[in-house]
């Protein structure tokens, strides 16, 4: 029967990641999101080299100006250049947003998977989640600031210390929904037969989680990621508003938006820029996430 079953033309197997990348590249939304995202990141990090106005330099005679060549985005109530402030603020907001989102995603998925997967851990971990959900945010943040600000400042310097503090504050207070969502999905997934099959071939729990469970709960995680980045950026601004965030001479998008809100009627552009920047970042991350999710899901891939 050999002549009948000549094997189909073989191609050398490529790695799965290459494959995912291929797929990702063909995803229009993903590429758009990625481009936009890279553009935003490049602008906020590299922009200051090209546009070298000091974002904290005041110029009282030039306050409250509209867009002009000297100040393409206009100036604020102290005559600080808004473009420079947007870029400086972006650098902080984007890094806080992404790091905090990653942290909260990590914590959330970690707790969620553990709770969903190990029945013994489910109770304690979910009660822990309940606890964190119930804790009042403001006192929690205040306590964190109280306990850790000085040691962190001493260990990492002022800016880095505060960055770490803020990122962990946001991360630690926002992982709970992710954890619960992931857990819910894992609970259902755990009963699927392929998990049983994987166990029968001696897959350790760690591998079972990383290779079988996690890829299958990716989509809620991706959604949490996109929403998380917006939450993180906005929470950061709320923190600054409460005086718990970066020092006051540190612009961030959230803070710019907040400061601009009072001038909404006179100088609408002052809120439009930061608002737009936050939305675009979130949107780009969302499309990135969508693309990644599609690329990672073999059922959708190829369509």
């Amino acid at each position: 029967m050999t002549e009948l079953s000549q094997p189909q033309p073989t191609k050398p197997p490529r790695s799965q990641w290459l494959d995912v990348w291929e797929q990702f590249r063909q995803h229009k939304g993903a590429m758009m999101g990625a481009t936009l995202f890279i553009l935003i990141v490049a602008t906020v990090y590299l922009g200051p080299y090209l546009w070298d106005i000091d974002p904290t330099k005041t110029a009282i005679r030039e306050r409250n100006q509209g867009p002009s060549w000297a100040h393409p985005f206009g100036t604020d109530q102290l005559g600080r250049d808004l473009l420079a402030r947007m870029m400086a603020g972006g650098a902080t907001s984007v890094s806080v947003g992404i790091t905090a989102m990653l942290l909260s995603l990590f914590l959330g998925s970690f707790v969620g998977v553990l709770a969903g997967f190990f029945r013994k851990l489910d109770g304690p971990l979910m009660r822990l989640t309940d606890l964190f959900l119930a804790l009042p945010l403001l006192p929690l943040l205040l306590v964190m600031m109280l306990l850790f600000r000085e040691p962190l400042n001493a260990a990492f310097g002022l800016e880095r210390g505060i960055f770490i503090l803020i990122v962990s504050a946001i991360g630690i207070t926002s992982w709970m929904p992710t954890a619960r969502i992931v857990r819910g999905d894992v609970l259902a997934l755990k009963e699927r037969e392929f998990v049983l099959a994987a166990r029968s071939i001696g897959t350790t729990n760690t591998r079972l989680i990383t290779r079988h469970i996690l890829p299958n709960v990716l989509s809620p995680i991706m959604v949490s990621a996109t929403l998380g980045i917006a939450t993180a950026i906005i929470t950061e601004s709320a923190l600054s508003f409460l005086g718990l965030g970066f020092p006051p001479d540190f612009p961030t998008w959230g803070r710019l938006l907040q400061d601009g809100t009072d001038y909404l009627q006179q100088f609408p552009e002052r809120v439009i820029w930061p608002g737009l920047a936050i939305s675009l970042t979130v949107l780009s991350v969302n499309y990135l996430g969508d693309g990644l999710r599609d690329a990672l899901d073999p059922r959708i891939r190829g369509r």
């Binding site: 009282i60 205040l142 409460l242 005086g243 001479d249 006179q266």
Partner: protein, 546 residues
């Protein structure tokens, strides 16, 4: 004619939580309750005293105050009725004093009764207050919005530890004022109606009153001046442009008045360095390495462009000041000039004092210590703008500052466990505003007495925030407490003010006014910064034809 003008609505962006001012020192509570309960006398918009429930203001001249300055006798106007119809008598006045002075009551207005040894009812309409020592200014008790009279019959069972249990009383005190409470929703809204037993049968002009609380100053201003939903908005601490924009809405007018409120930078006389062991930071043990140097603090003050600060931060609600006590007018010293920025002069001052930049990093050093300051304040848009500007100016003269802003409820809360309170002052300089009640600055001036410095032993309590200390000052203040003559008192007060400023306890920045707004249809509003803003609500009326 009473009640003809329908409803008047007031918005305070801080919501009143209780209508008993003795249980809460909050301005919102004091002012909202001032519509209901009244003192014997009030301050008017100029800081003068006007009798309300009394027939006249007792003085030494008219015999109301004893020659030795230890007693004061009030005569109550006859025919005054509580809103429940019963008569207002001297017993109520005495009861009020007993209520507040009860050791377990935690009365917020206790200072008003400082030095009072007894309050006696002479007859139904006469009451005599005795002090433990000659008191040149005996108008603490029963004068001003913070010290109104409550009804004995109503509060009899609410003394001391029982005070908080009397919710009904605290939420609806019976008073002699123009309005009575119909419903009180704590931290939200109060509805009131005209007091039928109010002493002037033609007042108030409004039949009902709505007192809404909560939100923020912007929204309150908008509701009065732009949408016209409310008639009166309190304390609009907003950027001048924003006020202007709102005024353009055409529905209301901002009004400003000036009390003794001063926005200032306090200079820490002690070393706040985090390297010091806990318990020694910011204490008299370690003097500040450079802030005590006159050249330094004078230069810092000279580098500040105060008119600009006023312009961007307060507009019509601010004035340049170089004084700690800028009001009343009599005590406002004119020793200092500070309305022009002088960067060059500041630099020269420092250079001359030998405080120069030795290592080329742009920051001057004094005795090897670089002039780097931590500059903290509470979170507030205007203050952050000030911080940004001042930081820049100081940078120009070679002083670097690290900015920090702290949540107001932590900053002003006296929690000894927190490193961020203004009392603890774990920073080199800090900015906030302070003021005093009434027109007499004596106790305010006492804030800088050496023994009032916050320290660990006193749980960091104390008003001498800068830990400034001068024997000379203490002595002069002691003299003030013994002087009765008004002009002399004012002179001493000015001298004390000058000593403090010259000595570098603080850098005054802006004399802040109170900016409120009323709708264009509301008549009779007289902004009063010495007493409750709503002091003359009985006279308010609806303008017709607008």
């Amino acid at each position: 004619e009473r009640g003809k003008d329908g409803n008047v609505s007031i918005i305070y962006w801080q919501a009143p939580s209780i209508l008993n001012p003795f249980l809460s020192g909050g301005t919102k509570d004091v002012e909202s309750s001032s519509l209901i309960i009244e003192p014997l006398a009030r301050y008017d918009e100029n800081g003068g005293m006007v009798p309300f429930l009394a027939t006249e203001i007792p003085t030494v001249a008219n015999g109301g105050v004893s020659e030795d300055l230890t007693t004061i006798t009030w005569k109550i106007a006859p025919g005054i009725k509580w809103s429940d119809g019963s008569a207002f008598t001297a017993h109520d006045v005495k009861f009020t004093a007993d209520y507040c002075m009860h050791p377990e009551g935690g009365c917020a207005q206790l200072t008003k009764f400082e030095g009072v040894t007894s309050v006696e009812v002479i007859d139904d309409l006469t009451v005599k207050v005795t002090f433990d020592k000659p008191t040149p200014f005996p108008y603490g008790p029963f004068v001003g919005g913070e010290s109104p009279i409550i009804q004995k019959a109503q509060f009899e069972n609410c003394m001391g530890a029982k005070a908080p249990e009397c919710t009904e009383q605290n939420f609806g005190p019976i008073g002699t004022g123009p309005f009575v409470v119909t419903e009180f929703k704590p931290n939200d809204v109060i509805t009131m109606k005209a007091n039928e037993n109010y002493r002037d049968p033609n007042k108030p002009a409004f039949a009902t009153l709505t007192f809404k609380g909560g939100g923020d100053a912007t929204a309150a201003g908008r509701a009065v001046m732009e949408t016209g939903e409310f008639d009166y908005a309190w304390n609009l601490q907003l950027a001048p442009e924003v006020i202007q924009q709102m005024q353009a809405g055409g529905k209301g007018t901002p009004i400003a008045g000036f009390g003794p409120l001063v926005e200032r930078i306090m200079l820490n006389q002690t070393n706040p360095s985090p390297d010091l062991p806990e318990g020694e930071r910011s204490t008299a043990k370690h003097p500040h390495p450079f802030l005590k140097d006159p050249a330094v603090y004078k230069a810092m003050s000279m580098a500040i462009d105060r008119p600009l600060l006023v312009e961007i931060g307060y507009g019509q609600a601010g004035q340049v000041t170089c004084n700690w006590v800028p009001a009343p007018a009599a005590v406002n010293s004119d020793t200092f000039k500070c309305d022009t920025q002088d960067i060059e002069g500041a630099k020269k001052l420092l250079d001359d004092a030998g405080i120069v930049d030795t290592d080329g990093d742009g920051i001057r050093e004094k005795d090897g210590v670089p002039l780097k300051v931590v500059y903290q304040t509470s979170t507030n848009a205007v203050r952050q703008d000030f911080q940004a500007l001042i930081k820049e100016w100081w940078a120009e003269i070679g002083i670097e500052s690290e900015l920090r802003n702290i949540n107001a409820s932590v900053f002003f809360g006296g929690d000894p466990g927190s490193p961020d309170t203004f009392q603890k002052f774990y920073a080199d300089v800090e900015m906030y505003a302070n003021t005093f009640n009434g027109t007499d600055p004596q106790s305010y001036l006492a804030n800088l007495l050496c023994d009032k410095a916050p320290k660990p032993e006193s749980q960091w309590q104390g008003e001498n925030i800068s830990r400034w200390c001068s024997e000379e000052y203490d002595a002069l203040h002691a003299e003030l407490t013994k002087t009765a003559d008004a002009a002399e008192r004012a002179a001493i007060a000015r001298k004390l003010n000058d000593m403090a400023i010259e000595g570098g306890a603080m850098i005054p920045l802006v004399h802040r006014g109170r900016l409120s707004a009323h709708s264009n249809t509301l008549g009779g509003v007289v902004l009063n910064v010495w007493d409750s803003e709503l002091w003359n609500a009985a006279d308010w009326y609806r303008k017709t034809g607008s």
